[in-house]
Symmetry: C2
Subunit: 163 residues, 2 copies
């Protein structure tokens, strides 16, 4: 899809989401839509507080989720991200569907976990490429994100709610 | 593509990017690769500093770019993002290609512009869906992001450099 086509689609979708200027997205559908969006995404964007007050972003593979409340990732213990999150657990996890012009921002905090139970829980076939020593690899760390509030958008509408 | 397939692809790519544990990505190719990645993306993730010290993320349509130094967006003047950026211009713009497992993080600052020249520059056909009053719409604002430094990753390798 070209960028121009993508832009046209977004405009069409934006138009379709309103009727006479009024939003048509029912509030009670938001949670369901949020979960569906998460389920459809293999990747999430993780934002943390980097050096000198600048936010940093990285794409992360979503490994496990519990509704919109808890999102689990794994990463290298030696990564800059882990250093940042140990210093400041405040984070944002963002899911989006570019074609459908939908996005879900979750704002909350991340726990950096290194207990064996969590590491076993998140371990998948192929993880040894990232963590050659296996599930015990000291360079293998689990990140558990817990949402405090969320913002869901679709077309021109968006709504914020507590999680 | 299923998530499992995506994960397999990432592993294959991660393996192909190293040879006997050594990175094979030449440093002088990074800037070229960064520009190519930006060109291939219609959407960027914009992170700003939200309330109470939490980072916030939103997908934004990339409208214009000048290499990796300057990225231009437009948004609603009334949006929460504009309020945040006026208070704190520190931001992060992130481009990524999920299939190829490539990402570029740009860290820098955003200027919130409302001068007619900038607004005309960024105006595109279809913008009136977002800004019904046209290029003069007071609810139409231009965001000019200027990079200070960058981090590019591909497979298991990543490199940070000043912009």
């Amino acid at each position: 899809m070209t960028h121009e086509k993508s832009f046209e689609n977004a405009i069409e979708l934006a138009k379709s989401m309103t009727s006479g200027g009024k939003p048509v997205l029912a509030a009670d559908a938001i949670l369901k839509k949020s979960c569906e969006l998460i389920d459809s995404c293999g990747i999430a964007m993780l934002a943390s507080n980097g050096n000198n007050g600048y936010p940093n972003v990285k794409a992360m593979m979503k490994v496990e989720t519990e509704g919109i409340k808890t999102i689990w990732f794994s990463t290298n213990t030696s990564s800059k991200r882990v250093v940042q999150l140990r210093k400041d657990p405040k984070a944002c996890v963002y899911f989006h569907n570019e074609k459908c012009f939908k996005g879900l921002m979750l704002v909350g905090e991340i726990e950096v976990l290194s207990d064996l139970e969590s590491k076993k829980r998140l371990w998948r076939e192929g993880c040894e490429v990232y963590y050659p020593l296996g599930v015990d690899d000291p360079d293998y760390t689990v990140l558990k994100f817990t949402s405090k509030w969320a913002n869901y958008y679709e077309g021109l509408q968006n709504i914020s709610f507590d999680v």
